[in-house]
């Protein structure tokens, strides 16, 4: 095990990880770091390896080489959490949502901090009686906010978001994105957001990493990437997003 490269102790370091699926390489030599309270958006088209990256960081798939660490120790020790793309599938359809909220606390053997639950519910605009319902009895937007609540209840230092907005409608998207940003500035967790929505990434992330065919094509602060992408692919991605945005505005 190599020591962490940087002095900052609370930091996710992804160090040259590669993932192979059969013969194909789905992630190739990916490296980056992410500090507490910071947001990194990973953008790229479908099949670029975004979901594999999340699975690799969480230890759900094995890395062929390289490693992932939080503050110098294996990342699983800090119990990172995940907000999923399909909000409802993250909850057992047969159990009340409260069970899912309590699950991470039970596993850590800590009591439920009712004050924290109350304040999170308020910030996420979740009425307390929703907790007694089943996933099929709430809306998609509510389910995604419930997913965020579950991800934050045990105060993890690192939260991963897998396309957190893509299942939501436009209005709910904006609201949810703002809630995530507010909660992050309050709680100071490190956020890794995988998205295909460059507009969202540009508005809320500190850094943007462009993933293409399993490799990081470009890594830059959000503003400088939007102003002047350094690679041809980055250019193409940005221009496509802006053209789409212009079209949407025209329509």
């Amino acid at each position: 095990m190599r020591p962490p490269k940087l002095a900052d102790p609370t930091m996710l370091s992804v160090d040259a990880i590669s993932v192979k699926r059969g013969q194909a390489t789905t992630l190739n030599n990916v490296s980056f770091t992410l500090g507490a309270g910071k947001t990194l958006a990973v953008v790229g088209e479908s099949g670029a390896g975004k979901s594999t990256l999340i699975a690799a960081i969480l230890g759900l798939v094995k890395c062929a080489s390289g490693h992932v660490a939080w503050a110098g120790s294996p990342v699983s020790q800090c119990r990172p959490t995940l907000v999923m793309q399909e909000p409802r599938s993250a909850f057992n359809p047969r159990l009340p949502l409260e069970h899912a909220i309590r699950e991470p606390l039970k596993a850590k053997k800590i009591a439920l901090d009712t004050a924290r639950l109350k304040s999170l519910c308020e910030r996420l605009d979740i009425a307390p009686d929703l907790l007694a319902r089943r996933p099929s009895e709430i809306s998609i937007g509510q389910a995604q906010r419930m997913g965020i609540l579950r991800a934050l209840i045990a105060a993890p230092p690192l939260v991963l978001f897998d396309e957190p907005l893509s299942a939501l409608d436009a209005v709910t998207q904006k609201r949810t994105a703002q809630m995530i940003a507010d909660l992050q500035s309050q709680q100071q967790f490190a956020a890794l957001i995988v998205t295909h929505d460059l507009g969202y990434a540009a508005a809320f992330a500190d850094h943007i990493a462009v993933l293409r065919a399993g490799q990081i094509e470009e890594y830059a602060p959000a503003e400088s990437f939007i102003e002047a992408p350094q690679t041809a692919y980055g250019h193409a991605l940005r221009d496509a997003a802006f053209a789409l945005g212009a079209l949407e505005r025209a329509a």
Partner: protein
């Protein structure tokens, strides 16, 4: 679903209350009244030792149905544990558990049960052991299949990420999803256990006389087929009736659960 409850009630009351309803002691020998046909005193007649057949059938329910219940529930527990273990334990555990399951499935169950019960020596203990050991594999297959498909569900991934223990995941997330399918398998295995008990009894490897058990009664009756064929009809009809009722209840249950699954 009402018919399912009706069948369940009928079988439970038959095995619990059966002995109370019996008009005579099932082991009371009356040599003066051997092999008599149905009459006012003995509604279904008497056997070769003059014992009342109706009383023996009613007392036998406790053995035939009760043992079948015990055997099928033991199989349910063992098979579910094995299947969930295979689904959760990773590739090596999965491979090993499934090869053991294959080995047990690689042999006609009833023949295996005959060999095991026969070699261990006839008796109720050997009978239960033999039919349980040969009767858990279907549960394991079903539990593993559903378990593997649950493994990638969002809520199971979330639970694993949160560090929830395997036992807790199995209890909260696996069992509720497995149970409906396992109950349907169980009805089939319950019926099979009834058939298995009576088959082993008939071959002489099961419950031993003078305990009244339907298969053993058939074995006794077989010798007197020419003189009193009716004696052989009753225990067989009882087995057919019970197995048929359980199978039909199982079909109804399966359809109802499939309907419910669709709505979820």
């Amino acid at each position: 679903m009402r018919s399912v409850w009706a069948v369940a009630m009928l079988l439970v009351s038959l095995s619990l209350l059966g002995p109370l309803l019996a008009p005579y002691d099932p082991t009371a020998i009356g040599l003066a009244n051997r092999l008599s046909g149905p009459s006012g005193d003995n509604l279904l007649g008497t056997d070769a030792l003059g014992r009342d057949i109706l009383s023996r059938l009613l007392h036998g329910a406790r053995w035939s149905l009760g043992l079948a219940f015990v055997i099928s529930v033991l199989g349910l527990i063992i098979g579910t544990l094995a299947g969930v273990l295979a689904a959760q334990g990773g590739k090596v555990v999965d491979w090993s558990v499934m090869r053991v399951t294959d080995t047990f499935l690689a042999f006609p169950e009833l023949i295996a049960a005959v060999v095991i019960a026969g070699v261990l020596g006839a008796g109720t203990g050997s009978l239960v052991f033999a039919l349980t050991v040969t009767g858990w594999m279907r549960y394991a297959r079903v539990a593993r299949g559903i378990g593997l498909s649950l493994q990638t569900r969002g809520y199971v991934v979330q639970a694993r990420l949160a560090g929830v223990s395997m036992a807790s995941i199995a209890w909260w997330h696996y069992l509720p999803s497995l149970l409906p399918s396992l109950v349907v398998v169980w009805t089939g295995m319950f019926a099979r256990a009834i058939l298995g008990i009576s088959a082993l009894g008939f071959l002489g490897f099961g419950v031993q006389p003078p305990t009244p058990e339907w298969g053993t009664m058939l074995l006794d009756a077989r010798i007197h087929m020419r003189s009193t064929p009716l004696q052989m009809i009753w225990p067989g009809l009882t087995v057919v009736f019970c197995v048929l009722a359980i199978n039909l209840a199982g079909d109804t249950l399966r359809d109802a659960l499939a309907q419910e699954e669709k709505q979820l």
